[in-house]
């Protein structure tokens, strides 16, 4: 469903992503972990079609994001870590606008929009300008907008930022439900407990290179992390265990 092939991205002398290859199966929730500046967001932006790779390609549902960007994006939903929203539009107007970009007729998605807005407690706010929304409300609106066209692939960069506990729980349940319905989810997060809870497989990237990849079970067998938790394994793999300054 998601096929990343020898992906490399260079920013001048810096190689942000280095020959990354990865496959994610249909219906799978793939957790993409790594320390700050490891190349997660760059990889995700290339997958979402808003950044061109230096070499390599990404196929979503067998369609190349490079060669046929419009077709690939029509099947994809993307939730960025720092989303842009039009402050002067209302929540409802924003959703209609996004739906239009995906070629959906407003009348056909009215019910869908109502359900999603109710689910995320935004129905009463639908006719308010987005500038009056809190950070968490904006994040919820962006999640709704990414799901409105029923994508077959969901690419998510830090989904829980700014969400309250209820919002976090809704998102976790929603992702599991979407995955069960066949949607492939590629999720980048720093919240290791979330990754541990909902992901089927994990990949850890550091300095642009995939240093570990496998199912949750394989990670458990390899490093006995279940006893110590995913955090210890992550820090061990990325070599960030030393915190001398705190001692």
């Amino acid at each position: 469903m998601i096929s990343i092939k020898n992906l490399t991205k260079q920013y001048g002398p810096l190689t942000a992503v280095n020959n990354l290859s990865l496959e994610v199966a249909p219906g799978e929730i793939f957790g993409f972990l790594g320390p700050n500046g490891a190349g997660k967001t760059t990889t995700i932006k290339i997958m979402a079609g808003i950044l061109a790779p230096t070499t390599g390609d990404v196929e979503l549902c067998g369609i190349s994001i490079q060669r046929e960007p419009s077709r690939a994006k029509a099947l994809t939903g993307y939730i960025p870590d720092r989303p842009f929203l039009y402050d002067r539009l209302t929540g409802l107007e924003f959703l209609h606008f996004i739906a239009g970009l995906y070629g959906l007729q407003p009348k056909k998605i009215e019910g869908e929009i109502e359900n999603r807005l109710n689910l995320f407690d935004l129905w009463d706010w639908r006719n308010e300008l987005i500038e009056s929304y809190s950070h968490g409300m904006k994040q919820r609106l962006i999640i709704i907008s990414a799901l409105i066209h029923h994508p077959r692939v969901l690419i998510i960069d830090e989904p829980m930022v700014g969400l309250d506990p209820k919002g976090v729980r809704i998102v976790k349940r929603l992702l599991k439900k979407e995955s069960a319905g066949g949607t492939t989810i590629f999720l980048s997060t720093h919240t290791l407990s979330t990754a541990q809870e909902i992901c089927n497989r994990l990949g850890i990237i550091q300095k642009g290179v995939l240093i570990a990849e496998g199912s949750m079970e394989s990670f458990a067998q390899e490093a006995h992390w279940k006893a110590q938790g995913l955090e210890s394994l992550f820090l061990k793999l990325t070599g960030d265990l030393e915190e001398d300054g705190l001692d």
Binding site: L51, S70, P80, P83, D87, G100, L101
Partner: protein, 567 residues
Amino acid sequence: MDLTNTLAPLFLLLRPRIQGFRNRLQRLPETRWKIILFVLLGAAFWGGIFYAFYRILNYFSSIPGFGEVLSQKVLSMILLTFFTLLIYSHLITALANFFLSKDLALIHETPMPRLILFSARYLESWFDASWMVLLLGLPIFFCYGIIFQAPVGFYLLLPLVFLPFVFLAGSLGISVTLLLTAFFPIRRTRDLLVILSLILVGLLFLIFRLMRPEQLVNPEQLSSLAAYLNSLSAQDSPFLPSAWTKEIFWALLKGDFFSTLLPLGLLWTSAGLVFMSNLLLGRQFFFRSYSQAQEGPYKGLQINARFDVWLRRLLPSNPDLQSLVLKDLKTFYRDKTQWSQLFILLVLIVVYVYNFSVLPLNKSPLPTLYLKNVISFLNLGLAGFVLSSVAVRFVFPAISAEGQAFWMIRSSPMVLKTFLRYKLVFYFIPLMVLAELLMVFTNRQLGVSGAMQWISSLTMLSLTFGLVGLAIGLGALYPRYSAENLGQMATGFGGFLYMLCSLALIGLTIVLEAGPVYRMLITDLRSTPLSLLDRWWMIGSFGAVFFMHISSGIWAMRKGRASLEKT
């Protein structure tokens, strides 16, 4: 892809802008007042241009033998200036609309075809960059129609001429932007602005050379009247679209519709051709350049650590003030967009000062010293205007520029009063130096009397305080933390209000000082001493001016502080 399938998504992309504007109108009542104010002032400005240009053109057209040729020459100059301005404004607007807008990531991640997004941004750039020139041009073109008694067809066919004219100039500007961004390392987009500014300066010089304005005002330099007439009626370069436009315009004015066909065809086909080339360029480079625009951090200019230490020694010993000064200096130093704008302003100021050296004052029938002092006094107003233009661009955004990081100041132990006072001093010093240099240089060029030099310098000193205080205060009252760049921060309602207030302050200064200055010059001219009444009048007027400058600065600062404390 049929036309409906292309146009529907194109208009969909314009929807947030239209809907956002409508929402602002419906939900924010102050927006309506702002718009009404804008419209009223715009209408007054429009009327002013119409009146002034009508008088000028009426005068030119009435000169026997020269009238029509002179009017044509003026039209050529106007069209060439518009053409160049349109190219430049499209260069800048296209850069923002195609590559730097915050909503681009949101749209690029959707299946919207890139060429449609490109076309929508093309349309937006065209609108953003040309409405002002069109608005400015209309009264001028109407003046021509009225004075030369044009037939109705002239007015009806004007859009047919100016649509391709504006579109061609705009498309050429967009072509340059697309080519520059395709071949320059765009992660240094801001460097590009410096280059664009240099291009503007180059274009300004080119325009003046192409226009040869000295021929209009100084005919005696030419060997004979025939040579003067010849030089005026010489054809403009046949490669200039502004020359084709002038040809069409003049033929329409005279009701000779048949003669317009060839140049009109040339104008339309050229506009179409450049547009098609831009579509090809867009297909090839649009996404690639956009992608490059997001790449990598921009390090800016490095500041030597030793320089840092040296600078600290020069500053007051308070660590909080030291931090603020160093932060502001470094931010300014590393932001090349600031440099480019400063560079343009300096060029304009140099041209301004230079103009004083070429004023033909000796040819006037009035006594030279009297005239020089009067001009020096009026120069106060002009210099004040230059100063307020610099302040609206560099000082007004001082609070907004703190942007999303303003919470650091607010959560620090520094009180807002100290912070605003620091900003006042930080900007007052360089602006005061600039203002005084302006006055000293222009007064030296004019050779004005000592008393007038003192009046100018002291008035400028207090006026600078007033203008800087107003800029800081109103900037705090109407902050735009989320604006994409410093230029944008000054273009909102607050910036507009600042310009109005500063113009009012300058106008009142002139009004209050005009009487006593006139009395002083007259007594000087007659070599009689000032009467007691004159002396009291001078003390009263200059005192009122000083009080007005200081109190308006302090008032605005207080208002700004009160507003910041509430938020």
